[in-house]
Structure formats: structure tokens, C-alpha cells
């Protein structure tokens, strides 16, 4: 029993790293644009399908394929922003943008169904099935590689946000959009690029999701987005550190409950969200209370 628990914790931390990558994109988009990108889940699935196409039809290694899929998703994100998010104005912008993202998600889901059908697909590579032994546990190679990739990308994002001029504009826009505009930051450009970056990380997240989930369909987007939403709310909307901690915490919790009852593991996920929000409406790391937004 003890061994099982340790193994579940190790799995949870490794898989949590992958979720952190997807959640950081989502919370970054929220922080800068004040919108929740409901399409993030289906975009992750799109990333998985892109990796699938590259590896099955062109025989490109999954990790190498990211060099193609990440820019592709970046451009897709830029397109979604310019076509559907930027034109939204006015008092109802918040709910409108949420619905617009939902509509985009539905369209993408329909397109994926049309192209790939409803059958479950999986990604294949030697390192997905291999595993190695650490301290008496077997850890799957893909989880470890994915965790390293996620950590590297999150560090990259951190450096981008805190060590570059662009990052400073992003953070200024997050703090106060009007003030940022007044000191000469092109808020629209910053917002568009942030949206695109938030979407681009889904390519990596999607590849990992496709490799570790044991089968995905276009319908998987719903499950993903609801987990991601729970994570970023728990972490406090717009808080990047919060998203990291909440991902690891929630996925570990899920994999612990999974030992007792696989069917109910996901419910614990949402219950934790409901309980945390009732006790502490700011989320775990949010400065601004969720209630007052």
C-alpha cells in the first residue's frame, strides 16, 4: 500500500508538470487579456493530432516534431486572436469572449471529427512504453522526458516574462491596461502575442497528452479543459506560480484517489475546487479575490 502511494505521488508530480505547461498558457492569457480561453482543451487535442500526423505519416520523432507543431499552433493562436477576440468590445466583452472561444472550440472539434473520425488514437514511440527504475519504482520514460520538457518550457516562459522587454510589457499590461497603454505599450500587439504563446504551449502539452493518456479522440477536449479550469482557478486566476503548484497538487490528488476508485478520481478533482473556493474564494495564490472580479 505504501509503495503504491509513493508511486502515485511520483506519477502525479511528473504528470502534473505536463498539466502545468497547459495551465500556464491558460492563466497567462487570462492575466493579460482578461478572457478565459475555453478552446485551450481542444487546442491541446489539436496539438496531439498534429504530432500524430507528423509521426505516423512523416515518421518524425515526437519531440523533434515539436519544432513544427509549436510554431503551427502559435500561428493558429494568432489567427484566432485577430479574427475573433480582438474585434470584441463593450460591456459584455467578458462573457462574449468566453462564448467566442467556446464557439471556436466547437468548430475545431467538428473539424477534427471530420478529418480523424471518432476512433481513439495513440502516439507511438519506443520511449512511451519503456521505463526505468529509480529507488525501486518504475518510472515511464515519457513521463520523465515530458516533465523535463515542461520544466524547460516553463523556465523559458519565466525568462521571457521576467528578463525581456516584451515580458515587461506583458506584465505591465497584466497590472493595468490603461496605464500600460499610456506609457506607450502597444496593448493589442502584446495581447495578440500572449494569446499566441498561450496557444503555442498546447503543442507541447498536446504531444505529451497524446503520449500519456492512452488514447484520445476529438471529444477529449472537454475533459481537459474542465481540469485545466479547475487548476487555474485553484491556483488563482492569472497567477503563474499558482498554476504550477495547483497542477501538481491536483494531479497528485487525482492519482492518489485513483488507487481506490478510478471512476471517481476525477470527481474529487472538482470537489476539491468547490471546497477550496467556498473556504478561500481567492484560490490558493490569487491576490485579488475571485468574488470581487
Amino acid at each position: 500500500m505504501g509503495r503504491q502511494i509513493y508511486a502515485a505521488i511520483a506519477d502525479g508530480i511528473l504528470e502534473g508538470g505536463v498539466y502545468a505547461l497547459m495551465a500556464v498558457g491558460l492563466t497567462l492569457i487570462f492575466g493579460v487579456l482578461d478572457i478565459i480561453n475555453i478552446a485551450q482543451g481542444i487546442l491541446v487535442v489539436t496539438g496531439a493530432y498534429l504530432s500524430y500526423v507528423l509521426s505516423v505519416h512523416l515518421h518524425i520523432d515526437l519531440f523533434l516534431g515539436l519544432l513544427v507543431t509549436v510554431p503551427a499552433m502559435f500561428i493558429l493562436g494568432l489567427g484566432i486572436y485577430w479574427a475573433f477576440i480582438r474585434p470584441l468590445r463593450g460591456r459584455e466583452r467578458t462573457s462574449m469572449s468566453l462564448l467566442a472561444c467556446y464557439a471556436v472550440a466547437i468548430i475545431i472539434e467538428g473539424v477534427l471529427y471530420w478529418i480523424f473520425g471518432a476512433n481513439e488514437e495513440t502516439l507511438h514511440a519506443s520511449y512511451i512504453t519503456d521505463s526505468f527504475r529509480v529507488f525501486g519504482f518504475y518510472l515511464s520514460d515519457i513521463y520523465v522526458y515530458g516533465f523535463i520538457l515542461a520544466v524547460a518550457l516553463v523556465i523559458g516562459l519565466y525568462l521571457l516574462l521576467y528578463r525581456t522587454k516584451f515580458g515587461r510589457s506583458v506584465r505591465a499590461t497584466m497590472q493595468d491596461q490603461t496605464a500600460a497603454r499610456l506609457i506607450g505599450i502597444q496593448v493589442n500587439k502584446v495581447a495578440g502575442l500572449t494569446f499566441a504563446i498561450g496557444v503555442a504551449v498546447t503543442a507541447a502539452g498536446g504531444m505529451m497528452f497524446g503520449a500519456t493518456s492512452g488514447g484520445f479522440t476529438p471529444n477529449s477536449g472537454y475533459d481537459l479543459i474542465s481540469r485545466l479550469l479547475a487548476i487555474i482557478i485553484l491556483g488563482g486566476l492569472g497567477s503563474i506560480g499558482g498554476a504550477l503548484v495547483a497542477s501538481v497538487f491536483m494531479i497528485t490528488l487525482e492519482s492518489l484517489v485513483d488507487i481506490w476508485s478510478p471512476n471517481w478520481a476525477i470527481v474529487v478533482f472538482y470537489l476539491a475546487l468547490v471546497i477550496v473556493l467556498t473556504v478561500r474564494p481567492t484560490g490558493m495564490f490569487g491576490r485579488q479575490p475571485v468574488r470581487a472580479q
Partner: protein, 349 residues
């Protein structure tokens, strides 16, 4: 103003009469099936609007009440071995179940506002969908099959149609009453500025929760009818994320927070979508079209058909009326506009 007071009831009666005559005139089975589905969505969109449209809290979790009502009717019919028409009498119980579920739903979700509220409603929706898949008494993913109705195929749809029509008419009437009442004003005050509304003495949580419970009651009843109409309760059709989106789309399309808007939206969108699904014989394409339509609405008529048309008409009228006096008064010497502008705007909505 006076013209509207006369025309509103007349339009309502004409629309209702046309709706009542529909299955008498058109007896094509496919058309009446689409008719039933449309009436179900008219009622659902109008019920959604009573909460989300008036209070401004966009719920994407109304399928929770819809599904709870459907499963309540399904499980009770199975448990009590009811068949035939008697199943319809369970619909009020489905409604009550929807209303009961709305209380904890509201107490949790209404802690938050804006985005977070929307997201929590989505999360609660997924909890319910998972429960429907995993509990034993819901029949899991194979669901519960409804008792077979051995009615004549030619008029099979009619009872469903008229029940849905009655619920829809009742809901629209209720929405109209609420909109004009003190309760409705409190809801709209919350939508415009919740903190100020509370400062003025509106018991915000109680008002919001009441609206949610009323909305859930009707949605639950509709869910019960939908279950009997499609003949089965399976999690993916009963707890359907597209239901949440469809009712929101209909209300937005017609005009969020107006009484007639959601009805108009449902009357346009649902038949169009059903027809396209049948014609194209491709579920995915109709899903893509629904999404594209939604985007078009958001980008082109963001405030909905009815408010946008109303604005156009009043602008046109004021231009017509303004032509003569505009030439008389030179610019800069116009009289100070009366502070009635706010009221005029309110009436136009």
C-alpha cells in the same frame, strides 16, 4: 410607446396561434419532430434567460437541471413501472428535482462572479455528467430506455409538441411578468452593478438564487419531456455540453435579457440546425456550422437581433422626427436635453 403596448399582446397571440396550428397544417413526420425539438428549446432558452439574461450571470451549466429532470422521470418511471401517458405526470417531479439541485448549485457557484461563475457552472456540469456515467442507478453509459408508446405514427409527435408549447408559453409569460416586477428590477439592478444594488438594499444572493431555482424548475420539467421524446436517458445526450451552448446561443442571438429574444433565437436556430443535420447527413458539419453561426452572431450582432433592430428603428424614427426641428435650431443653442434619456434607453431594451 403606445403602439408597442397594443402590438405586443397581438404579436404574442398571433405567434401562439400559429404555433398551435402548426401540427394541424403540417403533418410531415420529420417537420413535426423538428417542431417538438424547437418547442423544447424555446422553453429551455426562455427559462435560461430568466436567470442568465436578467441577472447577467452566464450559466453554462443548465444541462445539470435538464439532465436531473430527465433522469428523475426516467428512474421513477422505471421504478414504478409506469407506461404510456402516465409518465407525463412525472414531469413536475422532474421539475422539483431540478429546482432542488439548483439550491446547492447556486450556493456554490454564486460565490463567484463573471468568468469564475461561468467556469464553476461548467465544472459542476462535468461532475453531474460523470455521476450519470458512474452511478449504478442511472444505468451507466447504456442509460435507461423509456417505456414504448404504441401511438399512431401520424400523430405521435403531437402530444409532445403541445406539452412543450404549453411549457414554452408559460415560461415566456412568466419571463414577461418577472421582467416587469420588483423582482425583475432587482435582478437587472444586479446585472448592471451588483455592489450598488446591494448597497441599495437588494438581498442579492436571495434574488439570484430564486431566479436560478425558477429557471431550474422549468429546465428540469423540459428535461423530463425530452427524455420521453427521445426514448432514452444516456449521459452523453442528457448531460450534453452542446445543450448549454445552444440555449446561450439562442438567447444571445435573439437578445439577452429581452423576453422575446430567446424565443426568436430558438425559433430560428433550432430548426435550421436540425434541418441542416438531416440534409447534410453529417453531425460534424452541423456542429461546425453551429460554431460558425455563433461566431457570426457575436461579431456581427453582439447584442442580439431584437435590441439591434430596436435601436435601428428608434434611430430611424428620431432621424425622421429630427429633420424639421434640426433646421430650425442652430447648433450650440439647443435646449438642454431632459434627463429622461436613461428611461428611454431602458424601454428600448
Amino acid at each position: 410607446m403606445k403602439r408597442e403596448v397594443v402590438w405586443q399582446p397581438v404579436t404574442a397571440v398571433v405567434v401562439l396561434a400559429l404555433a398551435a396550428l402548426f401540427p394541424v397544417v403540417i403533418t410531415n413526420g420529420l417537420a413535426t419532430t423538428i417542431g417538438v425539438e424547437t418547442m423544447i428549446f424555446v422553453a429551455a432558452a426562455a427559462a435560461w434567460n430568466i436567470f442568465s439574461g436578467f441577472s447577467g450571470y452566464i450559466s453554462l451549466g443548465h444541462a445539470v437541471f435538464f439532465g436531473t429532470g430527465a433522469y428523475t422521470v426516467a428512474i421513477l418511471a422505471q421504478h414504478w413501472h409506469l407506461t404510456g401517458e402516465s409518465v407525463f405526470w412525472l414531469m413536475p417531479l422532474g421539475a422539483v428535482a431540478g429546482a432542488i439541485v439548483a439550491v446547492p448549485f447556486g450556493l456554490v457557484a454564486l460565490q463567484a462572479r463573471r468568468h469564475t461563475f461561468v467556469v464553476i457552472t461548467i465544472a459542476i456540469f462535468f461532475i453531474f455528467q460523470l455521476m450519470a456515467f458512474n452511478f449504478g442507478f442511472t444505468g451507466g453509459s447504456s442509460g435507461i430506455i423509456a417505456p414504448i408508446l404504441n401511438w399512431d405514427a401520424a400523430t405521435y409527435n403531437n402530444p409532445f409538441y403541445y406539452i412543450a408549447l404549453i411549457i414554452a408559453a408559460f415560461t415566456v409569460g412568466l419571463g414577461w411578468l418577472i421582467r416587469g416586477s420588483r423582482f425583475g428590477l432587482q435582478l437587472r439592478a444586479i446585472r448592471d452593478d451588483e455592489d450598488r444594488a446591494r448597497g441599495l438594499g437588494v438581498k442579492t444572493l436571495r434574488v439570484k438564487l430564486s431566479a436560478l431555482v425558477i429557471s431550474a424548475f422549468i429546465t428540469g420539467m423540459i428535461g423530463g419531456l425530452f427524455y420521453y421524446f427521445i426514448g432514452q436517458a444516456v449521459p452523453q445526450f442528457i448531460f450534453d455540453p452542446l445543450f448549454d451552448l445552444a440555449v446561450a446561443l439562442m438567447a444571445f442571438f435573439g437578445g439577452l435579457g429581452t423576453v422575446a429574444g430567446p424565443v426568436l433565437g430558438a425559433l430560428i436556430i433550432e430548426p435550421a440546425q436540425q434541418y441542416l443535420t438531416v440534409q447534410l447527413n453529417n453531425d460534424y458539419l452541423s456542429e461546425i456550422l453551429l460554431g460558425a453561426l455563433f461566431l457570426a452572431v457575436i461579431l456581427l450582432v453582439p447584442r442580439g437581433i431584437i435590441p439591434t433592430t430596436g435601436e435601428r428603428i428608434s434611430k430611424w424614427r428620431s432621424r425622421q422626427a429630427g429633420r424639421q426641428p434640426a433646421t430650425a435650431a442652430p447648433p450650440g443653442e439647443q435646449p438642454v436635453p431632459e434627463p429622461a434619456a436613461g428611461r428611454g434607453k431602458e424601454a428600448g431594451r
